[in-house]
Amino acid sequence: MSESSFVFPNDPHVACSIMIVLYPYITGLVAGAFVVSALYHVFHQEVLKPVASLALVTALCFCAFATLPLLFHLHHPERAFNIMFTPNATSAMSGFGFIYNFYMLLLVVEVWLVFRPTIVERANSYEGFPGFIYRVLSLGVREISDGARALDQWLIRALAIIGIPAACVLHGYVGFLFGAVKANPWWSTALMPVVFLVSAIVSGIAALILFYLFLCWQRREQPDANCVRALSRYLWGSLIVAVTLEMLELVHLAYESGAEWHILSTLLTKHLVVSYGVVQVLIGSVCPFFLLMIATRPKLPPRLMTLLSGLAGALVLVQVFAMRWNVVVGGQLFSKSFRGFVEYPLPWGGREGLITAAVILVLPLVALSLVSKILPLWHTTDA
């Protein structure tokens, strides 16, 4: 029996645009970067010391802009705080404001504690406007005795311990938002939160490799080969887990061949060929897998190792973005009639256009650059 294409009349619009792709992408980077900092602060992975501070500040800078794509997506952003004033207890999304603010506060406090010795030192020694900035940042707490630092270290560790589940909740919850939509067979799977969480860790590690290599290049310093190799190992391992889960989800759908598989298989083979098959799987998963396999070999020259790791990191970031795209946009390319498909012509301009998305993605990097002018991201006294 052949069937003609039919799209429900309210379905032609892709309601959740590239902004909803950016939102999990940015929160994923936050969660991933935080996990790297926690590997040092909680699990004492000393080899990651060169990137521990950078990881924390990266998490903070991206977290600061995580709500921006959502605000651009909302048709009534002026009512955004309703999500906290009149939350719906049955809605997973209503938890966002609380989870986000809790995590943001945690990050701000932890970053402040990590950089406190530097801030106090500079508040005491710098004069003029720079000195004023550091005196403000010190919040009037100039005590950096051994006892005070011991307390700081204890608090940093405690916050990092709380922060790990918080980061998992922040991002696992994002996956849950999609996984719990039973109306959409492309989204509705219990694996979705796990897939999002693991790919978040992948993206955070990949971003840190790139940022660290860029900072070293900018400062004309040799990157710490052991640190980069360790990051590459973590990236390789988490990438394998992430891709396995993504494929498992797909294979499960295909093997079950439920009532909606016909529309999902057409989606994959006709509408997501490039973004899923080529970008997410081939370029973003297979290539970095082999690059990292080589990069993590112990006897590889450091220069080649950093080059391969950097390249793999860039490709992995593309993979994770493509994964977000394929989930968010892909899930809206078919009508709920399950009889037809719609197009998503991504506009260049406008509130939810490509240029706005690019600007939003660049803003955390600008913030990171500004913070690096005030705080030493490449090393701190204790971090």
Binding site: M1, S2, E3, S4, F6, F8, P9, N10, D11, H13, A15, C16, L70, H73, L74, H75, H76, P77, R79, A80, N82, I83, F85, T86, P87, N88, T90, S91, A92, M93, S94, F96, L177, A180, V181, K182, A183, N184, Q332, S335, K336, S337, F338, R339
Partner: protein, 283 residues
Amino acid sequence: MPRKNDHTNRTCDDTNCKCEADEMQLRREFLQRIATVSFGAMTLTLFPALASHGGGEVVSKAGLAGGTPTTGNGPPIYGYLVDTERCIGTGKCLTACRVENEVPEGNYRTWVERYIHFKDGEVRVDLVPESGYSASDLPSVDPESVERAYFVPKTCNHCDDAPCNQVCPVHASFTSPEGFELIDYERCIGCAYCVQACPYGVRFINSETGTADKCTWCYHRVMRDEQPACVEACPVGARLFGRVDDPESEISKRIAEIPTQVLKEHLGTHPKTRYVGLSEEVT
């Protein structure tokens, strides 16, 4: 425990069983009311914004109980029945809805699907044009090639377990005491999560107001003891609306007499909009 929407075509033969069930139901309702009042008092204290709940456009058009007769202790319970065997695709309901509810072009609170099963096995689905078939650009159909054809009007299903209501992060989607799924347009942030959550594609972001929008079963009319605009406009009685808690109402009698179905039953949303003669091809 029977659901509100299908209790009319289910009976219990065991009198004792029925009495116990009734007693339990009364107890449950009593407890629910206490819980509602307590929670309401608490939340109104904590969140003053909640006090304005229901202050949206729809609710402000008519009081919640204004002009509506009630039986027993609770508010009246309504239902909607679509008879696909009666619909002839005039499209009058579509125009009536658009005019009554000022629905912008390109958005749909209701629509009618035409299913054509051809003898060669092809199934064609298209929309009944609002302006009538003569003015539309739909391809003509050779009657000789058609095995069977029928029309399926669609509206919001006002589900008992509405996923749109569940996911709304700001409580802008809510259920009226009469069981209508409504939207507080002054609270909605336009996140479109409800649009994603609705399995039936009946929700949309209103291109003029920027809020979520959908069929309300013409709540404002029903509260004035009028029929929904689409029901009133249908010349063949394919759309039937009324009280399902009144066994003497026409809709209750129809539901009791003939088998009815709901859309996407496997999703467990328990729609209050029921269908007569729904084919399995309809999604």
